[in-house]
Symmetry: C2
Subunit: 493 residues, 2 copies
């Protein structure tokens, strides 16, 4: 390969950037903090979006679209939410440019086109949506209101990282309204479950489900649930959040409904979202020093055919390519995405490296002699092994292998997580283990003060109070005070 990939052991951050850039997923742009999602990366996002969109619809939600801009007066209505996002907002103040009188061919902002009220480019859409819900909700018959939106949002990040933290990103945000608290809590939990299923079943990333502490909550939420994954660099990554918003937005925007008993009540709310950040998560969970490893279920191409073509032997090339097309037709019937590498100018070794860099799960190689022998070489991207397979059952073999690869990379990630999730009872030991990386399970006294101190001293945050952890009483790792919870600590992206 001409493109050099930094090894993980040398510099894991550079390795990540190399994969994103050289793997063709995204590119830097000249717009501060914003990236370009390239065709290969966007196809991956489309595949992820299509699956998740189906899951969101199957749980009773429909899509809609709300404005990009939030007038400042709406933005500030829910105070905690406003406070949480005020420091990272792009603000539109003018609506026109004009010719620069001092500089021909250049434009300046027209001072006469100043907006009476500034517009915030949405960092999240609760404000604009709840301001709309007030018009749509008047009776219990209008509830529940179960709406999702696919959109771009902007949060002015000072230190950006491709996919993981960009000023503009793509996401979906669900916003639901309910008659009762219980129903809203149920929805919050249900959608967290949908996210966990999506991320584990389709992206092959194991996650912990849990609840955020108060200081890590979404601004304006009564409770934030989350899924947390462990990356290869030992850092945790928040992969999705689902918020129980209580009646905070209903009160800020005066959204009331008349109950079946005829009483005026404030509505209960949830919101939940996942973003293009998940692409960063899957890269950093599965890939290796040879490049990307795409989870089979969302891979842009699940199979690549590399027939041995010779620049000069056109007739033979046609036979080989027509064989690829034959297999392709069969794969297509089973909904398997493939590509055929028809380039006659590159050597096979170069092509193999390229497809490995791109992370295509299965490579199928054959030449004229293989056709005679009715065989093909099938290579797995996940463990780089090869197998000679009879062409008669190649299609079945591929279909099964895709499932096997999914299971293997999921298990590998799970093993990595298990090996890097450590329990801890002493603060000195805790500090060492945090330094090593991975999750650390430890008792915490429940105070924001302790949480903050630990963060200052170790850079570790409480990722969540995990649902699946049996909760026994104990002693706080930091303060020595009695503790009700064991929580999940880690340094995070």
């Amino acid at each position: 390969m001409g493109d050099f990939i930094t090894k993980r052991s040398e510099d894991i951050n550079q390795w990540y950037n190399d994969l994103v850039l050289k793997g063709g997923l995204a590119d830097h742009s000249d717009v501060r903090g914003c990236m370009v999602i390239k065709p290969y990366g966007y196809t991956l996002w489309e595949n992820m979006r299509d699956v998740l969109d189906r899951m969101i619809k199957e749980t009773g939600h429909t899509n809609a679209y709300f404005p990009l801009f939030v007038p400042k007066s709406l933005f500030e209505a829910e105070e905690k939410n406003a406070e949480g996002f005020a420091k990272e907002c792009a603000i539109v103040t003018h609506y026109r440019l004009k010719n620069d009188p001092n500089n021909k061919g250049k434009l300046i902002v027209d001072p006469e086109a100043k907006l009476e009220e500034e517009l915030v480019v949405r960092p999240t859409s609760e404000a604009v949506i709840w301001n709309t819900y007030r018009k749509w909700i008047s009776s219990y018959r209008d509830l529940p209101l179960l709406i999702n939106q696919w959109a771009n949002v902007v949060r002015w990040e000072m230190r950006t990282k491709l996919f993981l933290r960009t000023a503009e990103f793509l996401w979906q945000e669900g916003h639901t309204a309910h008659a009762t608290k219980a129903e809203a809590i149920e929805e919050t939990e249900k959608m967290l479950g949908v996210y966990a299923e999506f991320v584990e079943t389709f992206l092959a990333i194991p996650v912990f489900q849990g609840k955020k502490t108060e200081s890590e909550r979404f601004a304006g939420a009564d409770d934030t649930l989350c899924i947390e994954a462990l990356m290869q660099d030992g850092r945790a990554l928040q992969a999705g959040t689902s918020h129980f918003l209580g009646q905070n937005f209903a009160k800020a925007f005066e959204v009331k409904y008349q109950s079946e008993e005829g009483q005026e009540e404030y509505v209960w709310a949830t919101s939940w979202g996942v973003s293009t950040r998940l692409i960063g998560a899957l890269i950093m969970t599965h890939s290796d020093d040879n490049g990307l490893i795409m989870p089979p279920k969302v891979a842009p191409f699940q199979v690549v055919f590399v027939p041995f073509l010779h620049e000069k032997n056109k007739e033979q090339n046609e036979v080989l390519i027509s064989k690829c097309n034959e297999f392709g037709t069969e794969l297509k019937k089973r909904g398997i995405r493939f590509m055929i590498d028809k380039d006659t100018t590159k050597r096979p070794g170069f092509k193999f490296a390229e497809h490995e860099l791109k992370g295509i799960p299965i490579r199928v190689v054959f030449g004229p002699r293989d056709i005679e022998n009715n065989m093909a070489e099938v290579a797995r991207r996940d463990n780089l092994t090869k197998e000679n397979v009879s062409q008669d059952n190649l299609i079945d073999y591929i279909e099964n292998l895709l499932g096997e690869i999914h299971t293997n990379i999921y298990q590998r990630a799970l093993t990595h997580r298990t090996e890097n999730t450590r329990e801890c009872f002493e603060y000195d030991d805790f500090k060492k283990k945090i330094e090593v990386g991975g999750f650390v399970i430890a008792h915490w006294d429940g105070s924001a003060e302790t949480e903050e101190k630990i963060k200052e001293e170790t850079k570790a945050t409480i990722r969540c109070v995990p649902f699946d952890l049996e909760q026994t009483e104990g002693t706080c790792i930091y303060s020595g005070k009695p503790s009700q919870y064991r929580v999940l600590f880690a340094r995070a992206h």
Copy 2:
């Protein structure tokens, strides 16, 4: 119906607004010029997008995503393009809000967070994309580059109209780069053809294809091709455009490639787009005084089942609903979208009016006696006729009927257009015919001056020089000068 729809004969603009708002397609927002696309309207958009996205991919394009913001220095690089959009741009000047020291709980723009360079919210993406293409293109091997983007864009419109003209709208924009002029022109024409096919075959709207005059061209294009439709109010509507951009953007952004012969050449470009405006087009083409009429191929629901339910007869209701489910299963197998109206509180007449307002192409009604007789009543939305159909061949009947409805509404629109496309040889007659509405075909001397005069005096613009019109020499309707062209005039939305 509780919701009153203004008649077309009374006030066609109010009729249009009533359909959009009461039909549940969209809602006004508190954000100036921006609308909310409601679930029913967004589902329609999703269906349109899915079809067009497939057609765009089948012609060799892939999707990608570019930043929302365009730094001012990039925006102004292609001068004509910049000049064309400068007057209608939302400008981001700051990246932070802070607490208002004089007004507790309120926020103000933080003057210390002023951007060094202002960002334009994209009104179209040529600038940001061609600035990126410079990095991606160096050799003829990188061409053609065939990329499409689905995105939101913002153009600061002073007089807005739901779907037809909003400050923010959703669209797709294709941006392609080619080695030769001929290939770029071919692409421009091909994509216009794709739009024409999409709009006629899926939205059932007949269109004229043609070329814009110089003064109606896209800012920065060497040529703009367009499809033009005729609305029920007698006004034309530009439904899509495809631009041959020459080397204008390549020169502005220094995008060159090395040809097979080893020479440095500027790249040739096209761009093309359609938007949520098409929803306005289909509403105003097909609908009537009872409400919307959805083109079957993109209708959110193609069929609605209205079983005669009685609030108190639960057992019988179950039988009827289970029958609906049976039919539904069969429809689903054929990819036909349906809903079942299970409401037991509303009278059938009310329900019928509601489904007519929503424009669902086919209504299927039956009660207990119909089940005994093995019959159902099938009502068409397009012509409001009803037919009793045996339940044995109901599914086939529905499938055929959807095709028939498509053909009927297309033919109806075509007849309307034919009856309202008039040829004209004298300016007095021209003015009368423009006043009546519809397209007027007339000779034009080719000068921008004449075009402008006619526009001033009659409010009619040249919609295009249509491809399908045989071009004979003649005399300009306005100046009396010799004319090479007959062109299509109309007042337009």
